[in-house]
């Protein structure tokens, strides 16, 4: 029988609410919920309300795959926003491809991927790592020490950095990895101090950053003597690390709470109103917040939530978001993003000191960079 058109659209939010990753992912989920709220208040999509279905990925990659399946097959959601770690995305990817469903992934990552069923709203390497290196080069930093957590993103990032360095006359003095969750950095700090680099390129993840910066500081290293450029430390983490320990060090992102756009002013205000004045906004949160808007826009344009139609409608969508103009790239379903370097301020916020001027076209396989030719085989 012709069932009455449902008056709501279910969307899945799949992040780690427990386990080690909860520290980061909960805030992204919050930002996505905010977007859902705002859209609903503005009348919803295609005249229907969005109903978020929240699941916990529990910091466990197979659980992400299981919950993704559940959202698609059981709840029949129109799309899913979720994931943080590359591993969780890799685990979900086959599920979305198998069931031809859509995932919106909001975090900067190592690139070398472009699934037809994933939209990437965070930066790929040429929108964060490479601009970071460009900045260091401009600053005249020549000797680099690489410090990272032992997983895909840092290893890939460092490969790119090494290729870049080779092509730009920079020198890599050391490359060190520590297990995720590592907290004892005295040996590593000793190695770094002995090597005397101009700058440390830091791809450590999560809690390790706290230990690293605390122990670096007490070893007497300061941002003046040896700056540490981080690509996984955002406003959210700064409080936990302790402003004293990290103020003055540079970071590379596409968005800061201080980014001056009208959309951001509204975003920060709405976020603080909903979750508390003490809360800060950060790049991945903004990317997650954007994802919901980008999807909604695509649905409006397609006139349906049907996946293939949405995919077809999405390219060329361009919105003014807190970080500025964001456009979905038709080639690889990533987004155009502006790269920004910021310096951590004593108040815990990040002040932009450099930007790429305009949104950079995403290039997950670094095809446009001759020096990166050997990096991505396929």
């Amino acid at each position: 029988q012709p069932a009455a058109e449902p008056q709501e659209i279910k969307v899945g939010l799949l992040h780690s609410l427990s386990g080690t990753m909860a520290i980061s992912e909960v805030t992204v989920r919050d930002a996505e919920l905010l977007a859902v709220d705002e859209i609903n208040r503005a009348g919803g999509v295609l005249g229907k309300k969005l109903v978020p279905v929240v699941e916990d990925g529990a910091s466990d990659w197979p659980t992400f795959a299981e919950k993704a399946t559940k959202l698609i097959r059981q709840d029949k959601v129109a799309t899913v926003f979720g994931g943080w770690t590359s591993a969780s995305r890799k685990a979900m990817l086959p599920v979305f491809e198998r069931y031809k469903a859509l995932l919106w992934y909001p975090v900067q990552y190592e690139g070398l991927e472009s699934s037809p069923y994933i939209f990437y709203t965070g930066a790929t390497t040429n929108q964060q790592i490479i601009p970071g290196l460009d900045y260091l080069k401009e600053q005249g930093k020549k000797k680099i020490f690489l410090v990272g957590s032992d997983y895909v993103f840092p290893r890939t990032a460092n490969k790119i950095i090494k290729a870049y360095a080779a092509a730009n006359g920079m020198e890599i003095l050391g490359e060190e990895y520590t297990p995720l969750g590592h907290t004892e950095y005295s040996t590593l700090v000793n190695k770094v101090v002995q090597a005397r680099p101009d700058v440390v390129f830091n791809t450590l993840n999560g809690d390790s950053n706290v230990a690293f910066f605390k122990q670096l500081k007490s070893a007497g290293v300061t941002a003046e003597t040896m700056p540490v450029l981080s690509v996984s430390v955002a406003e959210e983490e700064v409080t936990g690390i302790g402003v004293d320990n990290i103020a003055g060090h540079p970071v590379a992102w596409n968005y800061y709470q201080t980014t001056e756009t009208p959309a951001n002013e509204a975003f920060v205000k709405a976020y603080k109103a909903k979750y508390g004045a003490a809360k800060v906004t950060s790049d991945p949160m903004e990317a997650g917040y954007n994802a919901v808007y980008l999807w909604a826009e695509a649905v409006r344009k397609a006139g349906t939530t049907e996946v293939e139609a949405v995919r077809k409608a999405a390219p060329s969508i361009s919105l003014d978001r807190p970080e500025g103009k964001v456009t979905i790239d038709g080639d690889n379903q990533h987004t155009y993003k502006t790269a920004r370097i910021g310096i951590i301020q004593p108040d815990g916020l990040i002040k932009q000191v450099w930007d790429s001027g305009e949104p950079i076209k995403p290039d997950p396989y670094l095809k446009a960079y001759p020096w990166a030719a050997g990096l991505a085989a396929s």
Binding site: Y177, N190, K191, Q194, S218, E237, G240
Partner: protein, 282 residues
């Protein structure tokens, strides 16, 4: 070369951290036969106490109390049903640890919090920052206190009597229930103290305990279950091993090397560094 020399004090300071986190564990393990997997979360409780109080020195006794009382509650509510079944307590307390982690996440939020280090700990001598020296001093003080308690006080003797023969202790006039509570209180309290110290060098968040618990157990095992001097030597040994292994390879490999060395070591000394021999068959 200086780098190699530097690793020596670094190794010792790593050892001090290990000792501090393992001390309470050795205590409850050695004195009660309880393998407390929630130890890590008592450490976390200590760290959060420091966060709430905001002053490191005041936080030390407060954290001892807070973690100790949590231990007391755990002991009365659950652990006491499990005496004589150490492997069961391991699982039980693990369940408790999961709940405590989630509780911390809900109470203090998922992100890390920051405990400001006192200004008098800024700076250092040679390669060792003052905060590392502070931790080393705290570890030494902890060991001395535990040793005195066990060997120089009537309470300590009573504690030993209960672990060695519970039923006999009861029929010798010892209030075993009270001794259990005291022991668990002290062991958990020591975890709280360790937690305060760790705020100086690491993250303060819901996951804090999980980062240290496996290493702490390795110290306990290598030292000989519940053996104070064993724990001291094992912590120092593992600290040095860690520091040099990481220096010459990397942090990941160092962990694997440490494990291999421990297995090899147990081939030579199966019951750990020091063994309490007894004639009783098991």
């Amino acid at each position: 070369m200086t780098a190699v020399v530097n690793q020596l004090p670094i190794g010792l300071s790593i050892g001090a951290v290990l000792l501090l986190v393992a001390l309470g564990l050795t205590f409850t393990f050695g004195q009660m036969g309880v393998i407390n997997m929630a130890h890590g979360e008592f450490i976390m409780a200590g760290a959060y106490t420091a966060f709430l109080i905001g002053d490191l020195v005041l936080a030390l006794p407060a954290a001892f109390l807070v973690a100790g009382i949590m231990g007391l509650i755990l002991e009365r509510a659950a652990v006491r049903h499990f005496y004589g079944r150490p492997l069961d307590t391991l699982l039980l307390t693990w369940g408790v640890s999961l709940v405590l982690q989630q509780l911390a996440r809900d109470l203090f939020g998922a992100p890390n919090v920051q405990v400001p280090a006192p200004s008098w700990l800024a700076g250092g001598v040679g390669i060792l920052p003052y905060n590392r020296l502070f931790i080393m001093a705290l570890a030494v003080a902890g060991v001395v206190a535990v040793w005195l308690y066990l060997n120089r006080t009537a309470l300590g003797r009573r504690t030993q009597a209960v672990v060695q023969n519970r039923r006999l202790a009861a029929t010798s006039g010892i209030d075993t229930g009270r001794v259990d509570m005291q022991t668990f209180f002290i062991g958990s309290g020591l975890a709280g103290v360790a937690g305060v110290a760790l705020t100086l060098i690491g993250p303060v968040g819901p996951g804090l305990g999980t980062y240290y618990i496996v290493d702490a157990f390795l110290v306990v095992v290598a030292g000989g279950l519940g053996q104070l001097r064993g724990a001291v030597l094992a912590a120092a040994g593992l600290g040095l091993l860690n520091s040099y292994a990481e220096f010459w390879s990397d942090a990941s490999l160092a962990k694997v090397i440490v494990f291999a060395v421990i297995i090899a070591f147990l081939q030579v000394r199966p019951q750990g560094m020091f063994v309490l021999r007894s004639r009783v068959l098991t």
